[in-house]
Symmetry: C2
Amino acid sequence: MNPDLAQERRRATFDPEQVTSLLYRGPENVRKRRYLQNAAIQDQVLRGSKPWAFQSRIEQYETALQMYIYMMNKLDEMGVTDPLERMYYQEAGAPHYYNPMALHTGMFIPSIEKQGTKEQKERWLPMARSLQLIGTYAQTEMGHGTFIRGLETTATYDPSSQEFVLNSPTVTSMKFWPGGLGKTSNCCLVMAQLITHGKKRGIHLFFVQIRDLKTHRHMPGVESGDIGPKFGFNSNDNGYLKLSNVRIPRENMLMRYSKVLEDGTYVPPTNQRIGYGTMVFVRAHIVTNSARGLSKACVIAIRYSAVRRQTEVSPGGPEAQIIDYQTQQYKLFPLLATAYAMYFTGRYAEDYYEQIASEIEAGNLESLNQLHAVCAGLKAFSTWACTAGIETCRLCCGGHGYSHASGIPKLYTYYTPGCTYEGENNVMMLQVARFLMKIYPDIKRGGPIHEFVQYLGADLTQKSCMTEEVALGCLLKAFQHRAARLLSDAAARIENLVRSGKSRQEAWDASTVALTWAAKAYCHTFVVRTFSQIVSDAAVDKSTKDVLTALCKLYAIDGIIENLGEFIEDGFFSPHQVSFLKNKLADLLAEIRPNAVALVDAFDYPDKTLDSCLGRYDGQVYPALYEYAKNSPFNEQEVLDSYHKFIKPAQTEQSQRAPMARL
Amino acid sequence: MNPDLAQERRRATFDPEQVTSLLYRGPENVRKRRYLQNAAIQDQVLRGSKPWAFQSRIEQYETALQMYIYMMNKLDEMGVTDPLERMYYQEAGAPHYYNPMALHTGMFIPSIEKQGTKEQKERWLPMARSLQLIGTYAQTEMGHGTFIRGLETTATYDPSSQEFVLNSPTVTSMKFWPGGLGKTSNCCLVMAQLITHGKKRGIHLFFVQIRDLKTHRHMPGVESGDIGPKFGFNSNDNGYLKLSNVRIPRENMLMRYSKVLEDGTYVPPTNQRIGYGTMVFVRAHIVTNSARGLSKACVIAIRYSAVRRQTEVSPGGPEAQIIDYQTQQYKLFPLLATAYAMYFTGRYAEDYYEQIASEIEAGNLESLNQLHAVCAGLKAFSTWACTAGIETCRLCCGGHGYSHASGIPKLYTYYTPGCTYEGENNVMMLQVARFLMKIYPDIKRGGPIHEFVQYLGADLTQKSCMTEEVALGCLLKAFQHRAARLLSDAAARIENLVRSGKSRQEAWDASTVALTWAAKAYCHTFVVRTFSQIVSDAAVDKSTKDVLTALCKLYAIDGIIENLGEFIEDGFFSPHQVSFLKNKLADLLAEIRPNAVALVDAFDYPDKTLDSCLGRYDGQVYPALYEYAKNSPFNEQEVLDSYHKFIKPAQTEQSQRAPMARL
């Protein structure tokens, strides 16, 4: 054990186990999580592979496929059915490989379950669960992402044969990006424009077989493949799909909600938003997932910062642990606080979803708007914050952060797509803004509105109650005030533009920057509120609660300092109050310092999950880096073939020439 | 030609050629640049390779080695000796490969030229120029980066044999990271602690042969290798080096400035900072280089944003070009302005270096402090801004930005190390702060100080002169005021802490966040000043000057809005003045909109240099993406071997089991 890390752990003022328990919902769940992680870590088969970064892309894909199939079987044998528990096992078993069948289990099967008829479920689900069918969810096209209504793939009903004819009429209409579509899947759910009786009926889901179930070769009219290497996710065969007059029986349209009858009569769903549930569910989970990414990066960067020593503080004296530098603390500790904030917020969003989900399932869509706005906003807010935070953690590790030995580049490339998939973040923020502007008249006249948004109607002339103590309550009020003011500003801007002669649409379009500011402030407030609430409700001892409260305050104060203009341009804070905040910020960094390592330990990630030379629990960073380097595939030969192929001939050629200046 | 792009170019209100000429220092240089780029693009040998992302790491390394050796010979044949001109050729010839011999030409040879004696130059340079010697610069160790005095490698002089004995006494003392050290180089300049007569004499450079010149096998006592795969730079064999009692003759210490005599007597240099010149030179060039990275990302993102259409503006109407969305403009146009700002600033820093360099060479080090602070600060400021900007550009391209087909991930991984190498950015900022605090007493009492820093002594009670016009002069004054105030705040904080009983060092350590704010504000002001000066001096026609002025104003206003708190917490701007700025920001986005494509065209990057499906000059984005996907190595087989190896057996096994729920 590195002595610096050992001392950090001795110096902590609280019991990390209590925090772990709070994060993972109680000691029983922590126990289960550890049991599953250990089972994966100790499994001989899963242990075998060399570091992912030493593998070619095709090796990464094969390793991922093999491991995930193996883990599916193991989990089935163990009788583990809970998705979160399965994830814990998989995260420890194959931390750096994305499952090529992730959409099979995560989207294909659930969509059939939710949107298929009884007959369809009976027909496809047993085959899907036994992997006879390996499916994916083909929505995104080369030319269309978030704007789903713009999808160009067509499914035209032919009553004479009672079939749909599927086509990709343009280059841009090709399906592009779906995970596992390129090489792994033999079928998929295709999102397409339904056409019956010559009329467009909107977007629907169709079950399409794309490869032969016995030979895995393409079905007639199907062209598909891998879309090529990407920033990350290279163990996945994100694919493209071009359909040319592919015929499928009428029974292959998912018909739980809308139907096409034998004669081509279209029966629309009773409610257009019936399919929103899954989308909202996925977004709620992205919040927790983002927290997972950022927290791993924090573990690595904070442990490494306690081990790394650089620059003598006094001439000839010992070099300081870099975690003792205020600039390093100012980068890392607010991110640590963000990781906690997002964990708690994600959990809250998931609980809120569960609460509303049963109402939705029963056809009661009243709360859907509120839930939809919250999840869209938090998805965007958390992915932006967490992915930018991962990069900051990487940069805090200096040069070694750039090596794949650190594990952080992989975290970044793995989590940054969260800003884009499942609803592009800027679009999400404008959806939040649209929701807020829609209820704004109700807010202004004090109508009956949800507690989440009540504060938006508060008196904007109020000043902050902040004192030198910097109470959490005053911090939260500051966020509420800023959100209310920015919303009011955006609304005023739109009204002004309308008064100056622009149409409402034009006014909206010329105000999207201001609207985005308002939406972000709303989400930020939501996170501060949730964090402070969960901390205040937490059943932990006093020393633990003190530490969590310090983190929560740091999160809030840092959020204010980083966006200071928005909090002070109307004079809400006096200059004096701002100085309270800045002093408190410096104090909190010093206060959190002795608990920083224990706070990342509390995330309870086994080394295998982090897969990082820098983030090791034992702090043996440098021997690990040396070992990693020695094993680099480049070092299998003392002299590479390229020496004989390129360098040697160049030397011979050059020695016969006059030496010249070079760049 | 994509019709949207064609129309963008028709709509431009200025002549991009004038801007190109301004960027590259006149029409004659533009002509040369194009000539060299075309020569590289049309070269049949350089054309041959498949996309870099389709290659394994070893293939990337081999391709890079082969291409750069080929290009060296070609450039020699053409008689091109100017480093910038050679770079233009290489950038077009091998845009996505980092030269494994970059440090040979960029650091090894120049260091011998600058720090070697006449005899050493005669001995090594001809061999280095003819590639008999391939060298690198081995400074960074596993345990030490920016803090050079902490390096642990030792070179102990043995008078009995008149040799130095080099050792890596600890794991952390291993050289780690130097480019080309792993496999390519056969010698290097090792930075080591000189020990003579049992005393440490500080850090010096030693020429060490690490591989046999005929067989390329390791020399006795040398262990070296590649450090393994990284986030980027994978065509380079960044290496490690462990020295165990490696003996080199006394003549192998670079002795132009300091010497070790035969008997071991140490003769120190007349000035310790004599070696700073190269470091400063490199940092000045990093500014321009960062601009190059960000400008390429802007070309890709802005052209793509003009081609990409998403979401109907009115129901059933055409979908809008995404560049028409205000939120997209608000992300991209300030970055476009930043790219220009950094180009001009980099050019200014290079010129300033040249101006001071001859003084330094002559031993006059008076201006070195000022130059050193400017270059350290601008290096950090530009790399932070440009690399974060590249990521924003990538995210602005939605999902496709994440594919290596976009070219942007590669740009990011290529430029982000600039934040770390050649002086870690946070350390750089604190060096700027140290310089500013050192001259602060002179500033306060109005002593004779350089024009760069004069404004820091201005009266802090002044208010902004800003009117609705938003004049450049008032914008610059705002930046000056903020920098002066933040410096004064940091100084006051330190004095307060000293008064409260802390030592000066403790007070400094507890104020580094505030000091960093001040240093950043100083650098920011420098950039705004340089940008506005170059635009106002530019010999271009009125329409061109108008466009550049708009960009410059946008850069400044965006800088204010993004850091608004710092500009208003002391009441420098009134709320009214802030509203002028916000309105002007929105106006400028609309004003720049029709010229955005022409402004990126003006960077004059041939498609080959960008290597991006999204950034093509002709805008044929989608067919290019399709082509890229079809050529993915995964698609060479319709059915991958892994199907037979893993999927098929799993299906057979599963069909014999009861189907179970899965994640």
